[in-house]
Amino acid sequence: MTWFTFLVDNLLCRCLGISITVWFTLLFFCTIVPAVLGVSFGMRRLYMATLLKIFEWATLRMEMGAKEKNQELYKPYSSDIIAKEPSSSLLQEFQELRGSASCLSSEPEFELADIFYFCRRGMETIVDDDVTKRFSAQELQNWNLLTRSNNNFRHISLRLTVLWGLGVLIRYGVLLPLRVTLAVTGISLLLVLTFLVAFLPNRELRSYLSEKVHLMCYRICVRALTAIITYHNRENKPQNGGICVANHTTPIDVIILANDGCYSLVGQVHGGLMGMIQRAMVRSSPHIWFERSEVKDRHLVAKRLGDHVADKTKQPILIFPEGTCINNTSVMMFKKGSFEIGCTVYPVAIKYDPRFGDAFWNSSKFGMVNYLLRMMSSWAIVCSVWYLPPMNREEGEDAVQFANRVKAAIAAQGGLVDLIWDGGLKRAKVKDAFKEEQQKLYSKVLVGEMDQNQSDDKHSQDDNPEDANNRN
């Protein structure tokens, strides 16, 4: 009998050996070589189209299942919960209540019914508010075979469960190991090659080669995530001596942008693997890494950024002015620090397609490793990048107004909602100044115009501290 088991063993080993060789050859030729050369075979787009067809089918099955049970399918996008009044200001609403004469009267007019206004507004925000829903993943119209995004799981039939099971097998058994291998290859190549390039004496050769090395490694990383990126308006790509600003959804934004051009990154010095990568990168190209203590010093930050920008041979700086990750349905307040430096700003809008895998990093829910695992086990990351025409600060415009102008442009291009709220509200409480504004407005209704010590249009942004850009 032993010869039999020996034969089987031998056969098994040979099969395993062959399949691994085939695997790696495929890997090498289909992904790494095109990445190095910067060529694409279009396979990822085919993959994307196939997936979309499957998702539509899956949603159809769920709808049929729901109809059988005579219930409604939970469709988050079909309507809002409530119909909000077009936002009229506090003054306008009370004016309607009182009639137009009241504003001029000297006798303070208070009605017990005044409370209704605040009560109703408060209740409306409890049911549906603009801010908290930006800090959790977007809800989907169709189901994309990921349990993480499914609220209708009561309606799943047997066929659908089988398909889902197959999906899990493919994602975790095939795609995940493939992607992890690619990611490891990409990062090790980055470390090794930047180390080597740093030894070259000739500065021009060094910067040329380092550019090529960076681009190549980012291309490998993009394939490691199966990111399908469409770049629009590449003629507006950021130039040396400028700052590139973009909306922030995930740390992967960096890879997506750096895939198409070289940027200098700004951030805090980390320890561990991240720190190693940071040190490797800085050896061959000028990135700006701050020590934790230096981050709070606004002048130091501004000076270093300013110096970098003044040197026209250095690459454009990449900054995310929101300061934290937002879920890609809106753009929140831009911190004014990067807009005070006084150089050309190149806005970039990034919009992810959530059907293939939600790219948003909910840092209060998942750590970095967990997040990367989720990314690598989604179907794909599909996004569009728009390069907007460069903007400069105009005469008589201060940094805050400039920041808002840029933000509006990015929001308009990406189809995102433009909010004035601070992304820092993810963690911090809202400032009391806003409540005091409301109280002041109501007092005006009661007693008419009073002597104002401060102007009404005080930019509340002046109070917001310049927190570290990397506090995600």
């Binding site: 109703r120 408060g122 009661l446």
Partner: protein, 195 residues
Amino acid sequence: MGSRASTLLREEEIEEIKKETGFSHSQITRLYSRFTSLDKGENGTLSREDFQRIPELAINPLGDRIINAFFPEGEDQVNFRGFMRTLAHFRPIEDNEKNKNATTSEPLNSRTNKLLFAFRLYDLDRDDKISRDELLQVLRMMVGVNISDEQLGSIADRTIQEADTNGDNSISFNEFIKVLEKVDVEQKMSIRFLH
């Protein structure tokens, strides 16, 4: 995966809430999804901190009073039933109440119940009377530091004078109803819920 089981709202519960509050099936599921998204602790109840995390509510001068309305006397957590019961006050009043059930209790969104909700916002110690002190405190919440104590005091006095009919220097619920009889409470205290 994981804590999904807790997000399941059972059919019987939905039916009970439907009877009690008058919301439709899809509205209840939609509001349940909102409830769970506010529930950061994922334990099926909301605390005051969960409400205060909503920035637009935090800047509302009466935010704390509104949050308080959700919590019954002495309790610190509100479950989904309680949440829906409070929200039900703000349903618009329809002409044909489809959910008129056997019991003749008034629906939660009747004009009287809406007025009672507003009355309780003023009535800080829940003794069914709005005293001068309570009125002053609520007024102070609404105007902040922008009006002097004397002015505020005279506003409060005038309001109580106009409303008080039995001379006890405070406003009872019936006096409250009388003062507001001409106000379109139905429209002002209703939120347009979509299906």
